[in-house]
């Protein structure tokens, strides 16, 4: 049995300092580590014959998804149900929103129905923060425009913390100390809330972050984020421990105006930025991550997706556990806790 199970004398954090989870920009390393530690215990619950605990019994959660999403919503819904919460799903199609109701009114109506926790995904950056100004419920951001997607970053961080990398003692990564860890994020950084949240989280835990992608996909202010930037994949993978490939949003490429045609073709993107089997051979310790859904043959060659060193499926498992941990830790704020 691990000694960790017996350690009660540590000076570890016991509660989050925030009432909501809007992004990782303001979350401290100790808070992130608390979430990861808690997530591991909830992950164990998912392995049991009875995959459910009564911790959020009597709590009502609404999944307020203004942007379509299958996997994130499913992951949240599973997390909520495994905690025995009552779940209500609200998606925009065929709803009052299509009749012109504003976000504020939608939220207020939902709050009037005594909802304790709102999980919101919206196309406008800042929507989750805006929501905390209109209603009293605890708010979890499931993605607001290109701004942040904190639970995705947290599950990525948990996946990283559980990696068995020869360069590092297991306890270091496991304990959420990423000092010396080299992580490269590859793809459409400018439009990626996953990248943003991960940059905050990785830096908080001490990792070295490299961003890689076509210049058309790099955010304007990227130098200010304290990261290394390159538009060459080889540079990003050399010395890299983990490569996070971001999804190319194909729908954006077909879009109109300034968002259209950020690169000539998918094939060219794969040529220059796709991770292929040859990369796995050249960098024998490199691990591959992807938030999903993967465009096989674009961000990652098909064989790379299925390779042993790809931990994509671990990310999915960790997603439910991490969301359970966030729901659990934030639910203390339901009884009118401290303002953020």
């Amino acid at each position: 049995m691990s000694e960790e199970a017996l350690d009660v004398r540590g000076s570890e954090l016991v509660a989050l300092r925030h009432r909501h989870l809007l992004g990782l920009a303001t979350y401290g390393a100790d808070e992130i580590r608390l979430i990861l530690r808690t997530a591991r215990e909830f992950r164990d619950v998912l392995e049991r014959p009875i995959r459910r605990v009564p911790s959020l019994r009597g709590v009502t959660v609404v999944n307020l998804f203004f942007e379509s999403s299958t996997r994130t919503r499913l992951s949240f819904e599973l997390a909520e149900k495994r905690l025995s919460a009552d779940v209500v799903n609200f998606s925009t199609s065929g709803s009052s929103v299509s009749k012109g109701e504003t976000l504020k009114d939608t939220a207020r109506n939902i709050e009037a129905m005594k909802i304790d926790l709102v999980v919101i995904r919206h196309q406008s950056p800042g929507a989750a923060h805006f929501l905390t100004r209109c209603i009293d419920s605890v708010v979890i951001n499931a993605g607001d425009g290109a701004h942040e997607h904190p639970t995705q970053a947290l599950l990525d961080l948990l996946t990283l913390a559980d990696l068995d990398l020869p360069r590092f003692p297991a306890e270091q990564l496991h304990g959420g100390d990423f000092g010396g860890l080299n992580v490269s994020i590859i793809g459409d950084i400018a439009h990626s809330r996953v990248a943003r949240s991960n940059i905050h989280g990785l830096q908080a835990l001490g990792a070295n972050v490299t961003l890689c992608g076509p210049r058309t996909m790099m955010p304007q202010e990227v130098e200010r984020m304290g990261v290394r930037v390159t538009d060459r994949l080889d540079e990003a993978l050399d010395g890299c421990d983990v490569a996070m490939a971001l999804r190319i949003q194909l729908e954006r490429q077909q879009g109109r105006g300034s968002q259209a045609n950020l690169f000539p073709s998918l094939r060219e993107y794969h040529e220059r930025y796709g991770i292929k089997e040859a990369h796995l051979a050249r960098y024998p310790d490199l691990r591959i991550m992807h938030p999903g859904p993967v465009n096989r043959g674009v961000e990652l060659a098909s064989e790379v997706v299925d390779a042993d060193r790809s931990v994509i499926l671990d990310q999915v498992t960790n997603g439910v556990a991490v969301r359970m941990a966030c729901l659990y830790l934030l639910s203390g704020g339901i009884a009118g806790g401290d303002a953020e």
């Binding site: 049995m1 017996l6 509660a15 808690t38 215990e41 049991r48 009564p54 704020g333 009884a335 806790g337």
Partner: protein, 201 residues
């Protein structure tokens, strides 16, 4: 019962120490006796799979269970299977607290099904934590039986829960707290009766 010692035990600020219920020698003798009581329940004929197993409740119950296991091994040459249980996810005091309590690990490295268990905790009070622990155990499998061992029974039960093995029974009032301190976590061994300013979590 001894008077509070001049070398103050590690108590949170705001606690008024009323009495020392057990010093390190008392604790050792009581654990010896409890270990022998558990041994009386061992069935020499039983298959290893059905043999008694100890489950320590996070957090101090874990160390007590470990000490009991070591004593039983010393007395009888038998090393009982040992697990660690956290009942936090099954608590019933949700929303009466501002923060959710910390979740500690649960690790039961044996099959709970059909096994006779002894659940070990430091203090038995309202019985709610024990109820939560039973629910947690039942979600892991179907034990043949569960017996409960408490180092201290402080009375004031709110649920129909009773211990099968008790170190000491001490009548207390709601304004008091029984603090069990163990070398493994608190730097020294002992049990104190204190006037309550903070809750022991």
């Amino acid at each position: 019962m001894a008077q509070p010692s001049p070398d103050s035990p590690p108590h949170p600020d705001g606690d008024t120490v009323k009495a020392c219920l057990m010093d390190v020698a008392d604790l050792g003798r009581t654990l010896d006796r409890l270990a022998r009581q558990i041994v009386e329940h061992l069935d020499d004929e039983a298959e290893p799979a059905e043999r008694l197993a100890l489950v320590g409740m996070q957090t101090r119950g874990v160390f007590l269970a470990r000490r009991l296991r070591d004593r039983i091994e010393r007395f009888e040459g038998v090393r009982l299977p040992f697990g660690v249980l956290d009942a936090t996810m099954y608590r019933d005091d949700f929303r009466r607290r501002l923060r959710q309590p910390v979740v500690h690990p649960t690790e039961i490295p044996f099959d709970v099904h059909d096994r006779r268990l002894v659940l070990v905790d430091d203090v038995l009070y309202t019985g709610r934590t024990t109820r939560a622990a039973l629910d947690a155990l039942m979600d892991l499998g179907r034990p043949a039986s569960v017996r409960f061992l408490a180092l201290i029974d402080r009375g004031l039960r709110e649920l129909p829960i009773r211990p099968d093995f008790v170190g000491r029974t001490v009548p207390t009032t709601p304004g008091e707290e029984v603090r069990v301190r163990l070398v493994e976590t608190d730097g020294e061994d002992g049990v104190w009766l204190v006037g309550r300013m903070t809750t022991d979590d």
